[in-house]
Amino acid sequence: MSATTDTDGGTGDETSRKTGRVVFETTPTIKVTLIWFGITVVIGGGILLYLIANPELFGEKQLTDIVFWVIFLLFAAILLRFGIKMFILTRTNYVVTADDIRREYELVYRRHARELPIEKIRGIEFDQSRIQSVLGFGTLSFLAGGTDQSLGFVEFENLKQPHEARNRIRTLIARRADGD
């Protein structure tokens, strides 16, 4: 049985009614994904331009054309994925209340929320990629048993000021454990 609750559809009011006082609320940054988008454009574009400039790279022009299409389709899929991710991130909210933590997004009239009660949190995983580290962003995963690949976790991805958020949630967990 998973400790988290996934909610699809419905309205925001339904979710709010179930939870307590909002301790803090924030949105993720899209800068990290935007940088990856740019890196992909540069690398993909570079490879494609190189193939255009060297049509005999694989012996015959037709073979180079096939490689060109493979790389083009692959990079197009990656860019589209980053685009969709950015779109979702701009519509995502991270909410911490006195009772639970919640990641929610609304996408084309479809609302999705994943909640995890504070008392169910067994650990906090902090992850910072190189780009996130340079920019001061980070990802917090709140684990509720099992592993971070299971359903029992909520992730705050590309969080601004992740250390501050982590400390505030730690305080909240400690208070809850003390029965305050």
Partner: protein, 272 residues
């Protein structure tokens, strides 16, 4: 609802292969009954995809029995209860099995080599994690590879692409024949050079799609090892490498069979 999950699955398969191949690890560690249920679900998913792949092929007339098999009276009686033309239904069933057989054998080979690679790399977290990875990667990407190969071998407009693909496969086999110096030749001999100048745009796209599917297939196996088995990059590459050498092992094994075992003699002895 089903259509929504289906389209979400296709979306994940193309744009989020890591989500597509990711298993819910907790489900596998609960108990034997839970594992049995997950195993059953995976089998149903696999069979569904197998039919989804082989069904349209069979309906479009692919597959031809080299021997005529006649249904027994019991099976004929059962088929008679369900369909009017028992002969046609039986023929369809035989061809469906025939069309599924290649991908089924390939799935088994991929599963064993993948899990072997995982065990060799000492990163196995369970057999169901490998079943999950292979079921999903084979269900979509290997099915796409097989479909494109079928398409290449039949469509008139892309005959050159098919010739080139066959020539590449022959060159691959001759690479091992030359290294092993066993003095064996393919019945059709060495491949003739293919004039790629006559390659049509459809042929180019079909080949590009084929290579892209191969890339996705290997990449999802890599992701499966990374995510489902919690393997490191090197361990995951070992698992993918083990799967990748399967065609080479198959060719070397076939050559060994031809060189060391006189199959004709064995068949004659059995029949006698």
């Amino acid at each position: 609802m089903v259509l929504s999950y289906f389209s979400l699955g296709i979306f994940d398969a193309v744009f989020r292969p890591s989500t597509f191949v990711q298993s819910q690890v907790d489900n596998y560690t609960n108990n034997r009954l839970g594992q049995l249920i997950v195993g059953g679900r995976l089998s149903v998913f696999y069979l569904f995809n197998l039919v989804l792949y082989a069904g349209p092929l069979t309906l479009s007339g692919f597959g031809q029995s080299t021997v005529t098999i006649v249904p027994g009276p019991l099976l004929e009686g059962f088929l008679g209860l369900v369909v009017a033309d028992t002969g046609a239904a039986f023929d369809f069933g035989v061809r469906l099995l025939q069309n599924s057989a290649y991908i089924f054998i390939a799935s088994i080979l991929v599963f064993f080599t993948f899990h072997l690679g995982i065990i060799v790399a000492r990163s196995s977290t369970g057999i169901l994690q490998s079943v999950h990875t292979v079921t999903y990667s084979v269900g979509i990407y290997l099915a796409a590879i097989f479909t494109l190969v079928w398409y290449l071998s039949t469509a008139e407009a892309i005959a050159i692409a098919d010739d080139w693909l066959i020539a590449i496969q022959k060159q691959y086999i001759y690479f091992f024949l030359d290294i092993l110096e066993v003095g064996v030749d393919l019945p059709t001999g060495r491949p003739d050079p293919v004039d790629l100048g006559r390659l049509t745009p459809q042929g180019q796209f079909a080949l590009a799609g084929l290579f892209l599917s191969v890339f996705y297939f290997l990449y999802t196996l890599y992701l499966g090892a990374r995510i489902n088995h919690d393997a490191t990059r090197v361990e995951s590459l070992i698992a993918v490498g083990t799967v990748s050498v399967t065609p080479a092992l198959y060719v070397i094994g076939s050559i060994a069979l031809v060189v060391f075992i006189d199959i004709q003699q064995i068949v004659t002895a059995i029949l006698a």
